[in-house]
Homo-oligomer: 402 residues x 2
């Protein structure tokens, strides 16, 4: 070993911390714990038999290509099918606008690699997906938080922060937005807010990153047009993934953008992992081609709606006054706000003892706030355990309330 490892690490590595979520999740491995932590899809939605059929076909019909190196842009058939999927959602795109990534996390990493120099500003929601914050920080981004209201990222605060940064000649590289069933807040941004944000981004000439891993999982309410489609002129880069609407274990996501932006992502990806596994890409393409994707997605939405409803009923039944929570129209999460004086990190330790787990909310706040919040996942826990878990959690909260 070299005599002082710390000395030879990069500035980035010195700043890397293991995810708070990940470390907390280790505590939740006890099988007796009912875990609302994590962001796992329900394994009962995984289409095992369809995948047996398809993998056999892919291996026997196309094994030579499926098991070989593939192109950095991704499997052409899969790119075409994804372009098709998004065209049906109002995107004016073709295969040239789509690059496959090794799931969305890689997209976020490449995004940071392409745009961020150490010290560059990035605007993020308060709260915002922790994996995004980590990916940006690994490249030295300085995160500037934008306040939330019940419609998601506030446009007035966004405009104020941008005006400030413009004066300082320090405009951010991009605004990071999760508009649909936001992680962790569970909030969906209405069209009016989306349009306001697009206008502001145009005014300040700043890119919008639209990260939307759950968009297809809507239980109720109206479909909201995506920022990419609403903007229509390439100022938005859209991130999608199969992780929540098919299986996370394939590690397949995609980026949708103008070709000149896709070109930068391709160059960056080449030096990062050459290509995403052609084997899983070909399986995914066939899964879509055969129509299994839509059938299974419908079942997933139905199941998650049931799980969400069970949880909503349990929350109403058990939670003490003073506790509020978001009512998500889709996705995997809801967000709890406790009275101001409470600290979810203290609650977490007690909750673990009572065999229930969640994620502390402040992990999602780049400004260290949100200590009285927590994220609750409702997709993973089996239906029959959900109410018991909420009851346990409510008891822990009550015992800590003044």
């Amino acid at each position: 070993m070299v005599s002082n490892l710390q000395n030879v690490l990069s500035v980035a590595a010195k700043g890397m911390k293991k995810s708070a979520i990940r470390e907390l999740l280790k505590l939740t491995k006890d099988p007796e714990i009912i875990s609302f932590a994590g962001g796992l899809p329900a394994p009962e939605t995984f289409p095992i038999e369809e995948l047996v059929e398809i993998t056999n076909e892919v291996l026997r019909e196309d094994g030579g290509k499926a098991l070989q190196y593939g192109s950095t842009e991704g499997d052409d058939k899969l790119r075409e099918l994804i372009a098709e999927l998004y065209k049906n959602m109002g995107f004016d795109i073709s295969i040239e606008n789509v690059m496959i990534t090794t799931a969305s996390q890689q997209g976020l990493d490449l995004l940071a690699k392409i745009f961020i120099n150490r010290g560059d500003k990035v605007l993020v929601g308060l709260p915002s997906y922790l994996g995004g914050l980590q990916a940006f920080k690994a490249y030295g981004a300085e995160l500037v938080g934008i306040e939330f209201d019940e419609s998601g990222m506030r446009s007035d605060d966004l405009e104020a922060k941008l005006a400030e940064l413009k004066i300082a000649d320090d405009l951010p590289k991009f605004i990071y937005i999760i508009p649909d069933f936001q992680n962790p807040a569970g909030i969906t941004m209405p069209e009016k807010r989306r349009k306001e944000i697009i206008e502001i981004a145009r005014k300040y000439d700043v890119l919008i990153i639209e990260d939307s891993p759950y968009k297809e999982i809507r239980f109720e309410g109206e479909h909201q047009e995506s920022l990419y489609a609403l903007e229509g002129k390439g100022q938005v880069i859209n991130f999608g993934t199969f992780s929540k609407i098919f299986v996370p274990g394939f590690r397949i996501g995609w980026i949708i953008a103008y070709p000149e932006i896709i070109d930068k992502f391709v160059k960056a990806k080449q030096a990062t992992d050459l290509c995403t596994s052609p084997f899983v890409q070909k399986i995914a393409a066939k899964y879509m081609e055969k129509g299994y994707f839509e059938t299974n997605l419908k079942k997933t939405i139905q199941l998650y709606k049931e799980k969400k409803d069970i949880m909503m009923r349990a929350f109403a039944k058990y939670m003490p006054e003073g506790v509020t929570w978001t009512k998500p129209e889709g996705g995997l999460f809801l967000f709890i706000t406790l009275p101001d004086y409470m600290d979810s990190e203290i609650l977490f330790q007690k909750a673990i003892k009572k065999k229930v787990a969640f994620v502390v909310g402040h992990a999602f706040y780049c400004n260290g706030k949100g200590r009285n919040t927590m994220r609750i996942n409702f997709s993973y826990v089996p239906k029959d355990l959900s109410e018991i878990g909420v009851k346990r959690l409510a008891e822990v909260i009550k015992s800590e309330m003044r």
Copy 2:
């Protein structure tokens, strides 16, 4: 679109070029071209039927976990099996020393992320694997080339460069070495040279990166103990991959290092792609457990030896005087040196017209030298086309010779 994309790109992105190899490979897509370019394994080595059997088992017996998120470190069973494989090669390691990567290219990217600040020096062979050079440059590394002789990286030049850099208080972050059947040179470093290099690295307190994707593919000559095993004190980080000894399409590689170094890789990987596909990892683990790995590897070695021998005979038969080439004891490549006045880039254009392709050698030289060299892959082209390809190539070379 933002008004000036170039303005908002990172310094890294501004410096990213598409791989010269990749761009040249596009020219070789014509099916009439016999391509010695690329670094593809032979598809006839892909164990299709075994994989049909195994994927069915993995999906039916372990689908819930195989299709879910996995741990960042990698599938425990696979890590254990890889540790076992390397213990048999003299490595004193256990599962804690192994992290799974999304193939070796990700390992190289994470390596750069962990160690390189813009402007840091890295020592690389003249020549050296292009994907490594690209990964390091993406983080702003300044590459310092070390001369080669018939034993690979020269220890006298290595020591001279290190002495120079030490005086300048600018010691490199690591020395990047491909000791076995080097890409592109096809050279294997003998034990004496390995020991010299380890001594020098210790003297200057610099890490060694040992990238060895072909080690298992030895046709003849004696097994050389790896730098990791020879050094034995954690100053070497070893990179391995299934891409050349099983299938590249799974995108599975691994890093072997002391746990405190593995810990840095895990943190970096977490923000990069969360985890490598548990689906392909579980398939790979079962493939090893069932003993298919060893059986198939033996067949692969036999096939590549035959392909190498055919090519060696063709080279001896057709190449004009003044042309020399390495005689690899294993791996996938040999390296041609033409008379000094020749330029393989000019030859390349003519070769394409004559329906044969290779990779220009200077792409592998960080100092722009090697214009009279070319890399030849012998694993991919079918046996019956190899001689015709060499004949075409020899004719192109002859026509350009004075």
